[in-house]
Amino acid sequence: MSVQVLNGLAFGVLLLVLSSGLALIFGLRGVVNFAHGAVYMLAAYVAMSLSGRTSFWVALVVVPVVLAVAGLLVDRFGLRYLVGRSPLDMVLLTFGLTFVIADVVQSVWGTQAYTIDPPSVLAGSTDLGFATYPTYRLFVIAVGLLACAGLMTWLKFSRTGLFVRASSDDRVTAGAMGVDVDRVSATVVALGFGLAGLAGVLAGPYLTLSPAMGTQILIITFIVVVVGGLGSIGGPMVAALLIGLANSITAVHAPTLSAYVPYLLMLVVLLLRPQGIAGRRTAL
């Protein structure tokens, strides 16, 4: 049982990193980033190639940074032009991006699935006293939680974090108070892409790499964000762990039901409490 809880925690933490990026971008740009899963997939593949040439640790640092820069460009040359238009236009833009990235991945790495080994330091298992558990998954849990703690601290205590919270509460007022909303948005989109990149690098040795991995995780991440509440950061964090745990526990105890669980959860939440667990507003 404790192993299942840890499994759920590992998957939940991965969702946590992904969904906080998605929720941040939604808060600032009002856009549901359909490219989030594709960015995550791209990061996993790039990290695979990069750690083959250099080392996993280089990839862990370099890939999120590169993707953050890419996010900056997407915001500057894409999303920024769509401010004031229907939110659906931004959805379609990121949807187009998904197709481009999927094509890049398929033409560079092909359509076969890859599994990669964790770096030698993290290979094998660790004895936790109550159970032995793969070391790499413990590493995923630690890094993910650390990243999210860092993010929360940044949002709560830094000046830019204050601007981010102000701008996602009320764009126009924040702008009138002298906050450069476009710049804050660019920061946040870059951060969101960077977090998706981090999740991708972490997922490489943990899950299997395939061209379908992006879509699969994207839909679960959507569910996490919607269940947690659009426009909130804490809500999705709770929901991510919840869905991770539900996923691993039903997979053992009710395997036929397990595939339905996330979708049913989303359905119920949207119908009964459209603002999600902690959302202050409904999903637009």
Partner: protein, 367 residues
């Protein structure tokens, strides 16, 4: 010269509509001649495009008329296909009834989904339809005895449909009049529907739901019906797809089937009823042309979508309309010396038009 009155404007709009109808009738008749001009392979592509066009039309029309983006239409498309296959296998009904039963399955599914989801606004609606679509896909994978899962299901339909053995529709030359006719009939029906009072009311609900409710009109049922109609058209596409290919697999239920149709609809332009089918035709041609040269059609499609969203949110239809307006203005400008005022946009389109002012932003956010 006095300013044009409301009656003048209406008369001009009606005259315009008459010309539009005449143009479509000509297009429909010309299209019937396709088998005499195209090769068999090209005709097969045209048939694929037409079926995809019907699906794109259903999603595009819903988006245009209610402002709601559905990512779950693959479910109705697939349910209609599987429904037809199931009825054909387990009940010995005449072929016409079998097909109707299949379409009925899709329509009922759309009605149920519509009843539950239609009140949910904006992005949440898109996500909710996505979740329901994926739920159907998961269920399809688990009901292996009915769907045969990823292996797909070969269906043998029997009987005679519209004077031909139904097996004959596997041949594009025989199937083309049926497929083309259905496409044009759907275009015409949806166009006519959006011009009725009900269609206008849907557009008002899209622009300001609260205001319409405040004015004393129901806002729930019209949208449920619109969703069901859209589901009906998607089901039609699903059943026609089954009749022409005799094969259905789990892929049809996956959300990307609907997602692709949505992209195609947006590229073609959802503001015109003809836009989605044109987008579908373009997609099939592009896919076929590019798959011969390295298969980068996904990237091209994505880039085209990005450009369309950034530059011409109304898609090809808007580009065509802009070109026409420009031409008309130029011709009139030459004929009469004083320049006429720029033609006003259709007020129904104003909500979707690009606007950078904050009022527009708020209106867009409220939708």
């Amino acid at each position: 010269m006095s300013a044009p009155t409301v009656a003048d404007t209406l008369r001009r709009a009606r005259r315009g509509a008459r010309w539009e109808v005449a143009g479509w009738v000509v297009l429909a008749l010309v299209g019937l001649g396709a088998p005499y001009v195209l090769t068999l392979y090209q005709l097969q592509l045209a048939q694929q495009a037409a079926i995809m066009g019907i699906l794109a039309l259903s999603i595009g029309w819903l988006l245009r008329q209610t402002g709601q983006l559905s990512f779950g239409h693959a479910a109705f498309y697939g349910i209609a296909g599987y429904g037809t296959a199931y009825v054909a296998e387990h009940a010995s009904l005449p072929i016409g009834l079998t097909l109707l039963a299949g379409i009925g399955c899709g329509v009922v599914a759309a009605l149920v989904v519509g009843l539950v989801t239609i009140r949910v606004p904006g992005i949440a609606f898109a996500m909710l339809t996505l979740a329901i679509g994926m739920l159907v896909w998961v269920a399809g994978g688990q009901l292996h005895s009915i769907t045969r899962g990823a292996d797909g299901l070969n269906v043998s339909l029997e009987g005679s449909l519209l004077g031909k053995d139904v097996v004959m529709y596997g041949n594009p030359v025989d199937a083309w009049p049926l497929v083309w006719g259905l496409l044009m009939a759907s275009v015409a029906a949806l166009w006519a529907l959006s011009r009725t009072t009900w269609g206008r009311r849907l557009a008002s609900i899209r622009d300001n739901e609260e205001r319409v409710r405040f004015s004393g009109y129901a806002t729930y049922w019209p949208r449920v019906v619109a969703f069901t109609v859209s589901g009906l058209v998607a089901s039609l596409a699903g059943t026609v797809n089954l009749v022409t290919t005799s094969f259905i697999s789990l892929e049809t239920l996956y959300w990307s089937t609907g997602g692709l149709a949505l992209i195609v609809a947006v590229i073609g332009g959802v503001r015109s009823v003809l836009g989605p089918p044109v987008g579908a035709a373009l997609f099939i041609v592009l896919q076929n042309y590019l798959s011969g040269s390295g298969a980068h059609y996904q990237a091209v499609l994505g880039v085209v979508l990005i450009i369309v969203v950034l530059v011409a949110p109304g898609g090809l239809a808007e580009i065509a309309a802009r070109a026409r307006t420009a031409a008309v203005v130029r011709v009139r400008h030459r004929a009469t010396e004083p320049a006429p005022p720029a033609p006003a946009r259709d007020p129904l389109d104003a909500g979707a038009a690009p606007s950078t002012d904050t009022a527009g932003a708020r209106r867009a956010a409220a939708r």
